[in-house]
Amino acid sequence: MSLLDGHPDAFLIKVALLVGGGLLVGAVALRWALAAAGAAKLRRGVSLAFKSLWLHKLRSFLSVLGIIIGTSSVIALMAFGEGSMQDALDDIKRQGATNIIVRSVKPPDDSATSARNFVTAYGLTKRDLDRFRTFGDVVVRTVPLRVFPTEARVAERLVNARVIGTTPEYADIHKFATAGGRFLAETDDRDRKNVCVLGAEAADKLFPFEDPLGRVVQMRGFDFTVVGVLRERMGTGGTGGSQAAEEYNRDIYIPLATTVARFGKIIYVRASGSRMAEQVEYTQVTLTVDAEVDTEEGRERVKAVGGAVEAVLRAEHGPKRDWAVVIPLDKLEEAERAKRRFLTLMAMIASISLLVGGIGIMNIMLATVTERTREIGIRRALGAKQKDIVAQFLIEAVVQTTVGGLCGVVMGLGAVFAVPAAWSAMLDGGWFTGIPLPAKVHVPIVFISLGFSVAVGVLFGLYPAWRASRLDPIEALRHD
């Protein structure tokens, strides 16, 4: 099994192997039971099984209900689970799983140095950035940015925006599209132009009635010409560590060089009556590693670069912990682990429900054997061997669970397609508020659960079938 370790579907593969094993045992049992029979006898057995199940439609339906519910719920729940897990994975991939995000972190007030300066200086420096740029080709781009909480004003309209000074490559990292105009360009930065790109919501607030392109936004006393507007962007969830949830739609982007030229090196923050000033050269630096996230080798490379970044920072900053390294890949792997755990849990619940279904089948089969004792006696008297009786009841059980499993698959797939559609319709109708329910059918699960229900039929049919075959023909014939 160690071969499978690390494979994303390792658990499912193991389950599939188990089910396969169960089916093999069943096949051997059937083969034994049919001994010298051949396909004709099997076909006949199956048609007889259908006939006697059809004779007791309601009972057959009730006895396979457990299997139907088990199979359909496995498929549906797995699909919904897979769908929402996929959402989380996509969320992380949006942040760029090959990125390494380095942030400036305000260190805790250090009373020992008693440096009660009005201006706190901390964080990433130009030196750090230059060191990062020596990593070479393995890093595709290194994008620094500075963040200023600032009021942006157009005539009497005021928005509390987040101004982000950055370079044009920022757009490549986040793969976002403009709704109009362009993103920042190389020349903007070089010439320290007073241009800005508005996030969707900022544009909407500042220019509710007109096209913002070419208009002027005032920030900290400077006029900035709008050169582009971004499409609405999905925020990132704030899971774990130092990475908070982020909302990008109110951001205003200006060239990095411009921030230094116009706003200076000091960021002033007014917070509840007190004024704070911080000197931060770069709020954040994002490095993109040249790697494929879906390969083991690529992941190793991202982690190696992450380690190198930390080493640089440790060397440069010494004991001062005014930085933090966030590797989205870690979160991706965490999410993948969570997904695997979730799948395991679902599979366990599913096995329990199918087990319960199997016990239901066994229960009915035992009752059927008692009820059909006389039939068994007649068949024995007319020349049926014990094997024939085993085969008859085993086939009946397997036919039941197979039909049940098929019904379950149909119902489960139906639920996977119908429930999200109905849910979306209800959301659109304003019945509820919430997020859409994503669903993604996990194809191996469909086959595994079907195989599982067939295996359940074999497993739980064997005992009643064996009991039936051991009946004494004379006693059985006398039975009413």
Binding site: G383, A384, Q386, D388, I474
Partner: protein, 238 residues
């Protein structure tokens, strides 16, 4: 010609807890091919047990049972099943048809366990047999749609489908009225005259009178073994 059925010193005991019930106490009997035998005797005499042993449904405790050349007494369960399927036909008091099957399917049933392919030819044979017993117009009826006499005729057709060496009847007319009983017995006699060996259990003298030979049992032993002469049959006006 050697007898088709021969039992020697046949013993059958049942064990009930610590008690042993001796049902058959050393029977010696032989039946010729083409015979028509009635086994009679009060309840507890062992006649049903003897029929079960002859029918390979039960194994004797001791002694031997030769069916033709085979010593059936020493056979395994599977072998006994094969003997039943190949050489024996059964007719029961309560018909014992499968309610979910049609007339033709019931007749076909023993062939299912012979390991031969069921095809148009075997189906034809079943239909022929059903027609022979007078149910040609009810081939697709189910047992519950038939009268007792008709059901027993289906059972007779079923007992013939594997062309058995020996037909065993367990009170075949026990559930039928006199008129229908006569019809059934006529049918059995016809079969016997065409060469089939028949052994049946009955406790009615009227029915036993149809047989060529009457064996009476009492307490697990043969009490009497007589041949019906032709006259008694004539006396019955048949």
């Amino acid at each position: 010609m050697p007898p088709i059925v021969r039992v020697e010193n046949l013993v059958k005991n049942y064990y009930m807890g610590t008690q042993t019930v001796h049902v058959l106490k050393g029977l010696n009997l032989a039946f010729d091919e083409g015979d028509f035998v009635a086994l009679m005797g009060p309840s507890g005499s062992g006649k049903s047990t003897l029929l079960n042993v002859l029918g390979c449904l039960d194994k004797p405790t001791g002694g031997s049972y030769y069916l033709g050349e085979m010593n059936v007494a020493r056979m395994t369960d599977d072998q006994l099943s094969e003997v039943r399927s190949t050489y024996l036909g059964f007719i029961f008091q309560s018909y014992n048809l499968l309610p979910q099957y049609t007339v033709v399917e019931n007749v076909e049933l023993p062939l299912l366990y012979q390991g031969i392919a069921l095809d148009e030819r075997t189906k034809r044979r079943c239909v022929d047999l059903a027609e022979m017993v007078g149910l040609g117009d009810r081939l697709d009826h189910r047992p519950l749609q038939l009268s007792g006499g008709q059901q027993q005729r289906v059972a007779i057709a079923r007992s013939l489908v594997n062309d058995p060496h020996l037909i065993l009847g367990d009170e075949p007319t026990g559930n039928l009225d006199t008129k229908t009983s006569v019809e059934i017995m006529q049918m059995l006699r016809t079969l016997n005259r065409s060469g089939k060996t028949i052994i049946m259990v009955t406790h009615e003298n009227d029915i036993a009178a149809w047989a060529r030979r009457v064996v009476r049992l009492r307490d697990g032993r043969v009490e009497s073994d007589t041949r019906n002469d032709a006259r008694s049959v004539v006396e019955m006006g048949l």
